[in-house]
């Protein structure tokens, strides 16, 4: 059952359009429902070969020697591919846009860092022949101690998972082992809050479970190029990744895709394309590499586990006055996209609420498990679970209806968010009101009358005086606990707005005026998002290393 509530925000829309807003049938629907849509694996090639990989049986081990002689002699085998055959055998996915250090080989070198890591690939006349050959490969390896828990991994003396990041944490801004969020003074607000609640939340990994497993078919074309049929969710991302690993000019690759049998984030990592193409390069024949169901489930990169500690200060009247969140994203053995997800999580704090004091620390941690990747709601799903269960507990604690508690604390147009941008286009209050009404969940009139368009801004638009700290500086050892001691306060320049009062506690001293000049307008590339059109006091500029400032680490 679905209804449109057109009476909300109707002044902001023109509802008389010809095509937009119409329930038209999709152009691809007939193909889907009649089973005639072509997916990557529906392309037949004469002389097609099949590629399979030998995977590590250990979560962490040193590779001493690999004997593939029997596999090479095995029936139907056309080629055995070793790490040394990969032209550029080290990459990190986000290097395509300049983030992070290369930290992951296509085929393992010297060490394996998770159970299931590819070590050797075999290209054969059939999948059965490939599997038979894999069984004949002898790998002599020395198991190493593995670390599987994020908080264990950042303790001193923990096994080093990935030598590119020897402290087992991604490095942000070439400075800290986590991404910080600092807005106001949570400790002061906790001290004067009526209640303080600190809780721990955990989300286990989750598999994307697509109907169609990851896969691709690569074939030599007659013009010294390779055509690649793929189920990637990001065509040029996968093309660029393959071109880098194989040291090929990008225009020698011709990627064809666009129709995917379930993605949910699990088909961004370009798991199969580079090996399919390498197989085609080395054999001169079309090569198909498709993950089996077990491989997809265990080694095809899940939604990563997350652990969140949330400490909130709340007043008897229901106002949340402080929120402190410490989060650990379990990246598994390699960065993939987890470094990005952690920053997205920080940007999301403290959830869709206006809370005057917010403190966030988000760690991207390496462990000896299958590398995690994006999944529907990446960076948000896990922390939203934690935040909203916490909100329910807080409402219970102050004896308030959970719906009214959300409305009271909801962000509104004009409010300042913890990442120091003004909120606009808000609609949380209206969603709560409509859901309550539909569910027959009674809320009081005063809460029914509130809305996102009014009541925000003013004092709620201020940026409070904020202390910063140097906790987690790279090279100063790993954090010992989830609540690191506060370092000497260092005031951060604030905008010349009214300082945000901390509810029910003494006013802070007015913040100093900004010392940074107004930045030049961004290049005129496209319509600017409204948040960016606001004058803002920028942080330190990084000039030519603009990209590096996002995650703090330039491509090496």
């Amino acid at each position: 059952m679905l209804e449109f509530r057109k009476e909300y925000f109707k002044d902001e829309r023109d509802d008389h359009l010809n095509e937009v807003g119409q329930p038209r049938q999709r152009q691809d629907m007939l193909g889907h429902v009649t089973g005639r849509t072509r997916y990557f694996d529906d392309h037949a090639f004469e002389g097609l070969l099949h590629l399979k990989v030998l995977r590590s049986p250990h979560p962490h081990a040193r590779l001493r020697s690999i004997d593939v002689s029997a596999a090479e002699r095995s029936a139907g085998v056309k080629r055995v591919i070793l790490a040394a055959d990969v032209p550029v055998n080290k990459n990190t996915l986000l290097s395509l846009i300049g983030f992070g250090k290369d930290d992951e080989p296509l085929l393992a070198v010297d060490k394996v860092r998770y159970k299931g890591e590819p070590i050797v690939a075999v290209v054969a006349e059939s999948e059965a022949a490939a599997y038979a050959a894999l069984a004949k490969i002898r790998v002599n390896c020395e198991p190493l101690p593995a670390v599987l828990d994020v908080e264990e991994a950042i303790k001193p003396g923990a096994p080093v998972v990935n030598e590119t990041y020897p402290a087992n944490t991604f490095e942000y801004h070439e400075k800290y082992n986590h991404q910080k969020l600092r807005f106001g003074d949570v400790e002061r607000a906790f001290a004067s809050a009526d209640f303080v609640l600190e809780e721990r939340y955990q989300m286990s990994p989750i598999e994307h479970a697509p109907t169609e497993t990851n896969g691709s078919i690569a074939a030599p074309e007659t013009n010294d190029r390779f055509v690649v049929h793929t189920c990637t969710q990001a065509l040029f991302f996968s093309l660029g990744t393959a071109a880098k690993l194989l040291d090929l000019p990008s225009n020698r690759l011709h990627f064809i895709g666009g129709t995917v049998g379930g993605g949910f984030g699990g088909k961004v990592d370009s798991l199969t394309e580079p090996l399919s193409i390498l197989g085609a390069m080395l054999t001169g024949r079309p090569v198909r590499y498709v993950l089996g169901r077990e491989e997809e489930m265990l080694y095809g990169c899940p939604r990563g586990a997350e652990r969140h500690y949330i400490k909130d200060g709340v007043m008897r009247d229901g106002r949340v006055v402080a929120r402190k969140v410490t989060s650990y994203f379990d990246a598994g053995a390699y960065t993939r996209l987890s470094s990005y997800g952690a920053v997205k999580c920080i940007a999301h704090l403290p959830g869709p609420y206006t809370i005057p004091n917010v403190h966030g620390d988000c760690y991207c941690v390496f462990t000896n498990r299958t590398p995690a990747t994006a999944m529907r709601g990446f960076g948000i799903t896990g922390v939203d679970f934690a935040l909203e269960v916490q909100m329910d507990k807080l409402a219970h604690k102050v004896g308030m209806d959970p719906m009214e508690f959300r409305i009271l604390n909801a962000y509104r147009d004009g409010d300042m968010k913890a990442h120091r941008r003004e909120a606009h286009n808000c609609a949380l209050i209206e969603c709560v009101q409509v859901a309550a009404e539909k569910a027959g969940w009674p809320i009081r009139d005063e809460f029914r009358r509130m809305n996102s368009l009014t009541g925000g801004g003013g004092e709620r638009a201020g940026i409070p005086a904020t202390a910063t700290d140097e906790v987690g500086r790279i090279g100063t050892g790993r954090p010992a606990s989830t609540t690191p001691p506060r370092a000497p306060a260092m005031p951060i320049p604030s905008t010349p707005r009214v300082p945000q009062p901390v509810v029910a506690q003494p006013r802070m001293a007015p913040a100093p005026r900004p010392v940074m000049p107004t930045p030049p307008p961004p290049p005129p590339t496209a319509p600017l998002p409204r948040e960016q059109t606001k004058p803002v006091a920028p942080g330190p500029q990084h000039g030519a290393t603009r990209f590096s400032s996002v995650f703090g680490t330039r491509r090496r």
């Binding site: 949380l428 960016q532 400032s549």
Partner: protein, 344 residues
């Protein structure tokens, strides 16, 4: 031993597009000599309806019927660059790029029509049914088909357009986390009604009731498909799914769908949905995107409803019968938290 009913809610927002921006999309739009348009992309249709959303945006912008537009994607030799289908960026980013391209193509089409009708292009409008006419004078008209023929064979004009949409990459302050993450957010609130068996720890979903605000709904039926399916995924995340049931222990990994537990058709429940549309100021016709956020409110709403039913807080996902049962036992039995709101 008994079954206890419970009700819980959660409210969320969700950022649209890649965090920090820097994720461009391009689009090309061109007409054949009969006034039929092709939108060329490299964006991916994961089943979410990328092709149809961009098709409707192109048709609306061009001012032609939907049947005169098809979307071709994704071939790296012909489709211009797109960052990829993730981060709820399809409608917002690709949609905007298609709008820019379609506007350029429309501009050429109107100029060509003006030349044929010997009027000023600014005085012309499309009727959305394949014709172009002088504003206020519907009979001074020419079909899009005739315009395209004239442009191709008499005027030597290409009815085509190029589009790109890019939100410039935001910096992140290392000390404070100051940044511009995204330009707009979708919103939701969801109520979960369920039943907990205090003998087995099993949770049965009874009903979901929700309100989603997702900017302009470009195609209401596809919005419905996203919200219904997404909420099922949220319910599955809440109660069933993980390849590591005893995380951080990596043992017990599933090898197939017999071992990776997900809800079946008998486990899903009715979902009563309201859609609100607060247009994004920088979205195509105000569109944001429902793709990811629809799953998110279900997880905490389910956890909160379980507390309401039996008084235990399960703070670790997924909320399996084992966890519920252990928590009930540790508590010394179910402790219903009173009648669910609105169900007195």
């Amino acid at each position: 031993m008994a079954k206890h009913r419970g009700r819980g809610m959660a409210s969320i927002n969700y950022p649209i597009g890649m965090n920090l921006g820097g994720d461009p999309s391009q689009a090309l739009v061109h007409s054949n000599p009969e006034g039929k348009f092709t939108v060329t992309l490299s964006a991916i249709d994961l089943g979410q309806g990328m092709k149809q959303v961009t098709r409707q945006i192109a048709a609306e912008t061009l001012g032609v019927p939907i049947s005169d537009v098809y979307v071709d994607t994704a071939d790296s030799d012909t489709g211009p660059h797109d960052m990829g289908s993730f981060a709820s960026r399809g409608t917002h980013r690709v949609g905007n790029a298609v709008m820019v391209a379609a506007k350029e193509a429309r501009g050429v089409m109107m100029e060509a029509a003006a030349e044929e009708l010997e009027v000023n292009a600014a005085d012309l409008e499309t009727d959305g049914r394949g014709n172009i006419h002088v504003k206020g004078a519907p009979l001074r008209a020419i079909s899009v088909k005739d315009v395209a023929i004239a442009a191709q064979f008499r005027q030597g004009k290409t009815i085509a357009g190029r589009g790109i949409f890019l939100i410039p990459l935001s910096e992140v302050n290392a000390e404070t986390g100051e940044m511009s993450p995204v330009s707009c957010y979708a919103h939701a609130c969801l109520v979960a009604d369920l039943e907990v068996d205090d003998e087995t720890g099993e949770v049965t979903m009874l009903k979901m009731t929700s309100a989603y605000e997702l900017g302009r709904a470009i195609n209401p039926k596809m919005v419905e498909q996203q919200l219904v399916g997404g909420a099922w995924m949220g319910m599955s995340h809440a109660l069933y799914e993980t390849p590591e049931p005893y995380y951080p222990d990596i043992a017990h990994g599933p090898r197939d769908y017999n071992e990776y537990v997900m809800p079946g058709p008998g486990d899903i429940c009715p979902h009563d949905i309201a859609v609100l549309e607060r247009p994004a100021p920088d979205g195509p016709f105000g569109g944001k995107g429902p793709g990811e956020m629809c799953a998110n409110p279900v997880l905490p709403a389910v956890a909160n409803a379980i507390f309401n039913a039996v008084g235990v807080r399960i703070d670790e996902l997924p909320i399996t019968p084992e966890k519920v049962l252990r928590a009930i036992k540790a508590q010394g039995g179910a402790r219903p938290q009173g009648a669910p709101a609105g169900r007195g």
